[in-house]
């Protein structure tokens, strides 16, 4: 299947950033042309569709977040009796404190951060090593390795899910158990074929002359990687870091299986337990809000990179 090797990658090498506010006609025309836009009927329809779309997106995208924010500072009674109420008094700041300390959301958020950072690091190290190996060093056996890595993209995750768990319980040859250690989440995160493909593609687009020049100056492969390749790849590395952090923030099933010790569990595993327990609704909602707010802030800061990254992911898939 040509899912990977179609050349539809918009993963261009470092480009000058686009201006924040482009000139009105810099964007290429779409379905609707300029003359269409000047027709009054089209213009009215456009306004209507735009407004409806905006309202729908605000309600569906922002709505649940705002609602969680509101619920996190309301009383349980107020949440239940008037879920759609817009007027409310944010008087229950204690909810957040209760969730943070009492429900131990603070500690599990800390675990989530540790898991996200560690998973991202292993993903980066392994994927960069693989992509550099396959794109720059190109040993004779490279195609075999590359084939073996790509093959994992096509296997549905479900085949390896249970055996992966057994591997964690008893690592073959090493005979150690990674159960209830952060390694159990960090290490499997490294095997991300998708990131290898994205990175390799980007490394391929870096002009060979840079590396040749560094080689003539006496730089070894490691120096070429750290002084030439990585600095030029900053945009794509940023995208991979962001998507990996948010990805592991959302992880639920795997951490639930391998981290049975509550002191190590991330917030995604703690939340359902909290909901199943008898903590008040307001505290639950405060916990939900605390869980959501950090990735959302990350997204607001780095929107451009996120959206570009997801678009590029589509380029690899399509």
């Amino acid at each position: 299947m040509s899912v990977i090797d179609t050349p539809a990658a918009p993963a261009a090498p470092p480009q000058p950033r686009r201006r924040r506010r482009p000139e009105p006609e810099t964007k290429e025309r779409g379905v609707v042309s300029r003359s269409d836009r000047n027709r009054p009927s089209v213009r009215i329809w456009f306004r209507i569709v735009q407004t409806i779309l905006l309202v729908v997106l605000i309600v569906s995208g922002l709505g649940p977040l705002l609602w969680a924010a509101k619920a996190s500072v309301s009383t349980s009674n107020a949440i239940v009796s008037d879920p759609m109420g817009i007027w409310f008094t944010p008087n229950e700041w204690g909810n957040l404190l209760l969730a943070w300390n009492g429900a131990q959301i603070g500690r599990s958020l800390g675990n989530t951060v540790i898991l996200a950072v560690g998973s991202t690091l292993t993903t980066l190290i392994v994927s960069v090593a693989a992509a550099f190996l396959l794109s720059v060093l190109r040993p004779k056996w490279g195609p075999w390795l590359s084939g073996a890595i790509l093959a994992t993209l096509f296997l549905p995750g479900v085949v390896s899910f249970v055996p992966l768990y057994l591997t964690i319980l008893d690592m073959p040859l090493l005979n150690i158990s990674l159960q209830d250690t952060f390694w159990a989440v960090w290490l499997p995160a490294g095997a991300s074929a998708f990131n290898v493909v994205v990175l390799k593609r980007f490394f391929d687009s870096i002009p060979r002359e840079y590396m040749e020049a560094a080689k003539i100056d006496g730089a070894g492969p490691l120096r070429i990687l750290t002084m030439v390749v990585l600095p030029l790849s900053r945009p794509i590395l940023g995208v991979i870091i962001l998507l990996s952090v948010v990805g592991s923030w959302k992880e639920f099933l795997w951490p639930m299986l391998v981290l049975s010790n509550p002191e190590l569990q991330p917030v995604s595993v703690m939340l359902p337990k909290l909901a199943a327990g008898n903590s008040p609704l307001a505290v639950q909602m405060a916990a939900v809000f605390l869980t959501i707010i950090i990735p959302v802030i990350l997204f607001v800061i780095f929107q451009k990179q996120f959206l570009r990254g997801v678009g590029q992911a589509g380029g690899v898939k399509g």
């Binding site: 299947m1 899912v3 918009p10 964007k27 290429e28 025309r29 779409g30 379905v31 042309s33 779309l53 905006l54 997106l57 569906s60 995208g61 922002l62 649940p64 949440i79 879920p83 759609m84 190290i125 392994v126 190996l133 060093l137 040993p139 073996a148 890595i149 994992t152 296997l155 549905p156 479900v158 390896s160 249970v162 055996p163 992966l164 057994l166 591997t167 319980l169 073959p172 490294g190 095997a191 070894g220 492969p221 923030w249 959302k250 639920f252 099933l253 995604s268 595993v269 359902p272 939900v288 869980t291 959501i292 990735p295 997204f299 607001v300 929107q303 997801v310 678009g311 589509g314 399509g318």
Partner: protein, 306 residues
């Protein structure tokens, strides 16, 4: 003396040439990659195939049991229901969830101002951790008149609906959530693909008098065809492995109405401790998805040529 020296020199020469050619470095770079993939990707896949023919309880050494795991799994009375549910979920997600990102992308792509804002709003649900979002939605889905959705629908005289509490509406409710959670990120992929659509065709069509709708239908969508096919396959593969949503929303209930294949695998492995049955069912599902992908590939290849 001189003999051994030359011999050694020759061997050393070969080694250094190999190392200078990057051989040693290549091996050093390969070590972490091969270790991680061997332990956490290739190994488990092979082990999964082996385990499906074994009986193991993690204490005694594993026993070969032939096809009996497969026989056990296939004769499980719950399997038909779980398969039908999973297929039902995939179908609903395809009917309702699949067109929405395309529509969203085409609309956003026509905006000339604030399209970044629209993009960001559309993508927001994809940022929210599913566990937190499901907790919220569970509350929104509260079945009596007090629930959030029921209150809102009550204003226009609808409901109250039982949502997750009835066999008939539990699965559609989960699909509704999944569509909300997934539409934005898929739409972003389509928007990226739309930027590669050749615009001169629009001009040609416009000169020929084709209206806006006909341009979308005859130019935009055909040019997106390949991306659409790939996204559809990826969505199918994803929906057949649905787990978190039914696990957290309903736990498979009410009355097994949202029991899916992956929930069954989870129950075999982590409730019953029957890893053989769990891997056997995993292998069957993976085979099914493999066949599905191959058939899909050949069918869509014919269409994309046409």
């Amino acid at each position: 003396m001189s003999h051994t020296q030359t011999a050694r020199r020759r061997r050393r020469f070969d080694l250094t040439r190999w190392a200078q050619g990057g051989g040693l470095h290549a091996v050093l770079f390969a070590v972490p990659v091969v270790l991680v993939y061997a332990y956490f990707s290739w190994g488990p896949v092979l082990q999964g195939l082996v385990l499906s023919f074994q009986k193991t309880n993690l204490i005694l050494p594993a026993q070969w049991v032939g096809w009996s795991n497969f026989e056990y799994v296939l004769s499980d009375p719950g399997l038909v229901q779980a398969s039908l549910n999973t297929a039902y979920f995939a179908l609903l997600a395809l009917l309702f969830g699949f067109p929405i990102p395309i529509i969203l992308a085409v609309l956003i792509n026509e905006l000339r101002r604030y399209d970044g804002l629209y993009n960001a709003l559309a993508y927001l649900p994809a940022i929210v951790p599913p566990v937190a979002a499901i907790l919220l939605w569970k509350f929104f889905y509260t079945p009596d008149g007090k629930g959030m959705f029921n209150t809102a629908l009550g204003w226009i005289g609808l409901g109250p609906f039982p949502w997750l509490n009835s066999e008939a509406s539990a699965m559609p409710s989960i699909v509704l959530y999944a569509t909300w959670a997934g539409a934005g990120s898929t739409a972003i992929i389509y928007i990226a693909a739309l930027s590669t659509v050749r615009t001169e065709l629009y001009e040609a069509a416009e000169i020929d008098g084709a209206g806006i709708w006909r341009r979308v239908w005859h130019i935009t969508l055909p040019q997106l065809r390949n991306v659409i096919f790939v996204m559809m396959l990826l969505q199918l593969i994803g929906t057949f492995q649905i787990f978190t949503e039914p696990f957290l929303f309903t736990g498979g209930g009410p009355n097994n109405a949202t029991q899916t294949i992956l929930l069954k695998i989870y129950n075999y492995a982590f409730i019953n401790g029957d890893f053989g049955a769990a891997t056997a069912l995993s292998v069957l599902l993976a085979l099914f998805l493999g066949v599905l992908s191959i058939v899909y590939y050949f069918v869509t290849r014919r269409w994309s040529r046409a």
